[in-house]
């Protein structure tokens, strides 16, 4: 039995999943063995008299881990020497579930992946299916999706800002951001009929058109919100406590972020201008005028500035969408590719049959078709790879989730950091476990 595992599991408390815990602590012990060996030589006769060495298990249930993230860390005093992350506590086998659902049936499940920005995940799935089946969506649907995706981005970044700052000790910002999130929920409620798990996007378009009230709410929100952000920036941008907590913490060089495969604002905070909206323009992003903000410092403060700038850019995009949007159909007028409108379903026999057929069978991408479509979710590149066997169910649906890739980078970010910065670092990469655990 290894020394760390026996040290931690003193009274044989891990009777539950014993092999898993043993493997986890063995990994923690065997990681960077060279670092240990050099130390063993130095401290051969000392035997750690101050009792500095410590193995600490944080999570899966801990408020600062932003979900069910488990970190096993080896500490030398305050310094994190080694870290092993353990995820999977929210694993529901969502890819397996997708294989048993029709494409449209699976869409509401995507709400539960990244539950902080459900609209973008809906759109990510629908676009992936549309690519596999070769469905072009009407212009108005694309504008609505673009706009609501940006609203979801604001909503997600707001939660990141409030919770991240609460980790650093500022409670009032949390309340302010949630006041704004409440406004966004009101808009989602008006647009989709649900506040949180919206499920508004459909394969081949969106479920409902925007009401005049929704357009008014979107317009006033995107006009007022940048001023609110400026107010927060007055508090935060030169705040001594916030800067001290985040500047120079978790620094990643451009080479490191690319090697670690990190995505989204974490990548752009280190000076890599990689954004799916410009890399592989989808929906209406190629017709819009916006900036992709980047910073070159690569620390937590840089990632804060990137996300704050994205909040304002998103408002700009929403304004442009409202200007450019023309009246028109919101779903493809093809019963083999999208749901017919409710008017047709209720008042015509054909429509009823189509609705029934679409629910039981749905879209059928050609047999053997495999395609990948990625969108820029608030957390980074969110991609779905779909392989079809010619039926209404995906043969294989693979999720490439940004939180998963970012968490991998967190493991090496934590090593060498001090214990007090750990919550800041978890907050700064903005993980959502529903998405990372699939």
């Amino acid at each position: 039995m290894s020394s760390i595992a026996s040290y931690v599991d003193q009274n044989n408390t891990f009777s539950f999943w014993p092999r898993h815990n043993q493997a986890l602590y063995q990994r923690l012990e065997s990681k960077h063995a060279w670092l240990e060996r050099s130390k063993v030589k130095a401290a051969a006769d000392e035997e750690d008299p101050l009792d500095n060495e410590m193995v600490l298990n944080i999570g899966p249930q801990h408020p600062a881990t932003h979900g069910v993230l488990r970190c096993a860390v080896k500490l030398d005093g305050e310094r994190i020497e080694k870290c092993v992350l353990d995820i999977g506590y929210l694993h529901r086998g969502i890819e397996k579930l997708a294989e048993a659902k029709t494409y449209q049936e699976f869409m509401p499940y995507t709400d539960r992946m990244d539950y902080l920005s459900p609209y973008s995940t809906n759109v990510g799935w629908c676009l992936a299916v549309e690519k596999a089946a070769g469905i072009a969506i009407p212009d108005r649907a694309a504008w609505i999706r673009t706009m609501m995706c940006e609203l979801a981005r604001i909503s997600s970044h707001l939660l990141w800002l409030g919770v991240g700052l609460m980790d650093a000790g500022a409670v009032s910002v949390f309340l302010w951001t949630f006041e704004q999130r409440e406004n966004i929920y009101t808009i989602f409620d008006e647009v989709a009929g649900a506040r949180f798990t919206v499920s508004h996007s459909r394969i081949g378009g969106v479920a409902t058109d925007l009401s005049p009230k929704a357009i008014h709410l979107l317009d006033s929100f995107s006009k007022d919100f940048p001023k609110v952000v400026e107010g927060w920036e007055k508090l935060l941008n030169r705040n001594r406590i916030w800067i001290d907590r985040s500047q120079g913490v978790g620094v990643l060089s451009p080479e490191e972020v690319v090697a670690l495969g990190m995505t989204g604002p974490n990548l752009r905070g280190s000076g890599i201008a990689h954004d799916m909206r410009t890399f592989e323009p989808y929906l209406k992003y190629s017709e819009l005028d916006y900036d992709v903000p980047i910073r070159t410092e690569g620390d937590s403060l840089a990632r804060y500035f990137v996300r704050i700038a994205e909040l304002k850019e998103s408002c700009k995009i929403i304004q442009q969408c409202l200007q450019a949007m023309q009246p028109g159909p919101i779903r493809v007028d093809d019963a083999k590719r999208s749901y017919p409108s409710k008017d047709e379903v209720y008042y015509s026999m054909e429509g009823m049959i189509h609705d029934f057929m679409y629910t039981s069978e749905g879209v059928t991408p050609p047999r053997g078709a495999r395609s990948y479509h990625a969108i820029e979710a608030p957390k980074g590149e969110l991609g779905f790879m779909i392989e079809s066997d010619g039926t209404g169910h995906p043969w294989r649906a693979h999720l490439n989730s940004p939180s998963f890739t970012n968490l991998q980078g967190l493991e090496s970010m934590l090593e060498g950091a001090v214990m007090g910065d750990m919550v800041i670092l978890i907050g700064t990469i903005d993980p959502v476990m529903g998405e990372a655990d699939k």
Partner: protein
């Protein structure tokens, strides 16, 4: 794998769909014909197949040359960013599993799909963690879900499931509702025994209860 795990379905093999020439969502980043030509010239017969759908070129190579191809992509063709690795259970008699590598060149604005087939008798691939650090967790995920072992991986543990779990859930023969008794859960009461089955009702068993149910008075009246 126990005898009870059986799955019958039409495997996905045979005719490929016609390369959809005008997919509305096709991206310019996946037009990688030049790079494929470079690979073909260098590796010849080891490039088994180049398939195309929705503008996406997928290059299938033999498992033997996988690592050399990946090195070439990174060092000579500037594919410096690994976006994703996905496993697929094709459920065919030969070369049952496929692994798709999704590699991006940020500087050149290209996305490359590389595919390898793994036979059930081999179940092993070279790990590319020394080429792309980011492959670490993705390879662990493929191992966890399909049981494909990555030789040379620095941390060959499962990704999502606990080590005590014996099956590979994304294989087609694994039932959707799970296998009774495969995932022990902690006791429901401090004294209670382990509740071994999260879906016992679904498998026709009554869930064990930690309390005595009162006898229904309604039933005795009738």
């Amino acid at each position: 794998m126990s005898e009870s795990l059986k799955f019958t379905f039409t495997p996905v093999d045979g005719a490929k769909p016609a390369a959809a020439s005008s997919n509305p969502h096709a991206k310019a980043t996946t037009e990688t014909d030049d790079d494929i030509a470079v690979l073909k010239e260098k590796f010849g017969d080891s490039i088994c197949e180049v398939s195309q759908y929705a503008g996406e070129r997928t290059v299938r190579v033999t498992p033997e040359v996988l690592k050399r191809v990946v090195y070439l992509l990174r060092d000579e063709l500037a594919y410096n960013y690994l976006a994703d690795i996905a496993g697929i259970d094709r459920f065919t008699d030969e070369d049952r599993y496929a692994v798709v590598y999704n590699i991006v060149s940020i500087s050149r604005g290209k996305r490359f799909f590389l595919m390898v087939w793994v036979d059930e008798s081999a179940m092993s691939l070279d790990s590319i963690t020394d080429v792309y650090k980011a492959a670490n967790w993705n390879e662990r995920e493929v191992f966890d879900m399909f049981g494909i072992v990555f030789a040379g991986h620095p941390d060959p543990r499962r990704m999502f499931m606990p080590e005590d779990f014996e099956h590979h859930p994304l294989r087609k023969e694994f039932p959707l509702l799970g296998i009774p008794g495969s995932l022990p859960l902690p006791p429901n009461t401090p004294e209670g025994a382990l509740n071994y089955d999260p879906f016992s009702a679904a498998h026709g068993n009554k869930p064990s209860k930690s309390y005595e149910e009162p006898v229904s008075t309604m039933a005795s009246k009738n």
